[in-house]
Subunit: 262 residues, 2 copies
Amino acid sequence: MFIPTAVILEDTHDDGRTLTNPGTSADGTRSTSDAPVRTRRKRDSLNRTVILDAAKVISERDGLEGLTFQSLGAELGAHPTSMYRHFKDKDELVLALIDSLRDRSYLGALVPTGDWRENLRIAARVVHEHYLRYPQLASQMAARTTRMPREFSNMEYTLKAFFDAGFDNEDALKYQRVFGNYVRALSSIEATSHCLPEQVQREDELAWRIQFERLDPEEYPAITAAGQPPLGIGDASTFDAGLEVLIKGLEALAESAPGAGS
Amino acid sequence: MFIPTAVILEDTHDDGRTLTNPGTSADGTRSTSDAPVRTRRKRDSLNRTVILDAAKVISERDGLEGLTFQSLGAELGAHPTSMYRHFKDKDELVLALIDSLRDRSYLGALVPTGDWRENLRIAARVVHEHYLRYPQLASQMAARTTRMPREFSNMEYTLKAFFDAGFDNEDALKYQRVFGNYVRALSSIEATSHCLPEQVQREDELAWRIQFERLDPEEYPAITAAGQPPLGIGDASTFDAGLEVLIKGLEALAESAPGAGS
DNA sequence: AGTGTTAGTCAACAGAATTGACTATCTATT
DNA sequence: AATAGATAGTCAATTCTGTTGACTAACACT
């Protein structure tokens, strides 16, 4: 058993464990040597905003799996279970974190240009960069709707682009979904693959190459003819290339659309 | 400091927990009333295949979060930690499960037609359906490469389609990645959104609609003009629509390519 | 002062992955 | 066949997680 001898006010343990407060134990007397290890936090000093700020710091530093009630408590100098006064459970906390991050990233990034294609590229870049900035949360961000306070501004921006391209209501909505899903899904996968452990990434990559070298040209003529081992799913250039293909396709569809302008 | 006084942990709960075998406990005597609850499994009766079969059953029945070493033990009538003789850790087990499932789904589904566009649709459908069949595993399937024994046949098939379309080596590889990533990423997100708890899905959907109704037409003219609340990310028709846009774009690019054939 | 509400604390619980020691069983060698 | 060695299955224990219900101190209001 480790007895925390000479517990200094600054915790900074490897494990953000509960630090006992001897001051409040059975005897009212407080021994002179040990300062109160953690004072009870001031009432109302904790709220959703403060907790979410700490959660952001932790998840950026240690990843999403490092975001636990223990680590939050350590970061805030509060008891791990304090958070339950402000969030029903961990799911609610993560959702709120996603929302708060989106608030910051999307602010004022969507400036319209005269070209609807360029506008789509801008909208795509904003979301893509946002996902890559918080790769730990990417899978959650894409699959769950959350409350989307900022999501509407992005939607407005892209929908307008499709109207500019000459699509009618129905098609504009349809292709807005296509576009949005593409951006979210690809960004999510790319980000997720980035935050696998380094070693796993290398092992997977290596395994790929080895298998590749051994392919039978009889059975796989096209692959062996192409000759290069492919890039992994985490490669960003594929995102851009796919975006351009989409835009190309949308151009073709816009030309054959009834109200084709621009 | 908490000294764990009298650590009583008689388990034998309702769940398929470890069933104690009194016959082998400290005293050699075996009380008459209780028969041995679980007999030790025959040596060599456990192996990767048997375990993966059980894992498949469990993950289809209870989802990926229901796949634990405990549940595996219960399903197999073995001790939970037996699995460690065959899999280094849970990660390795899940990876192996993904691989084994892919083996079954991809078998003989890729019959070539004369039209490269149609071939792309076929390849997309195979993967899409596979992901939707095992939604719990979808996120892992897309982000991680695993060992891909069957993945090469899919790649061969699609690469050939791009050669048929008239692309040169470099472009064929590039667009094969684009296509593959699109299919994997979209399928993954769609599947993942499907296996959220029903209630969460409804809540998210409802919150969306409510927010939608309240939008200010001044601030969001395009959205309010379009007039319909959009479909969620889990809608399959968007996958197909996006696929068609991609193919349209690829057609346009193929025409302008140097070796443009049929 | 006194009372009540509530935010922060604490101990405890259940259930997860994982580890190291133990044991039974199969295999190979004498 | 007897014995030794290897190894598959078992078991207890550890550490970490989210979560709950009781407790306690601080503030808000009479």
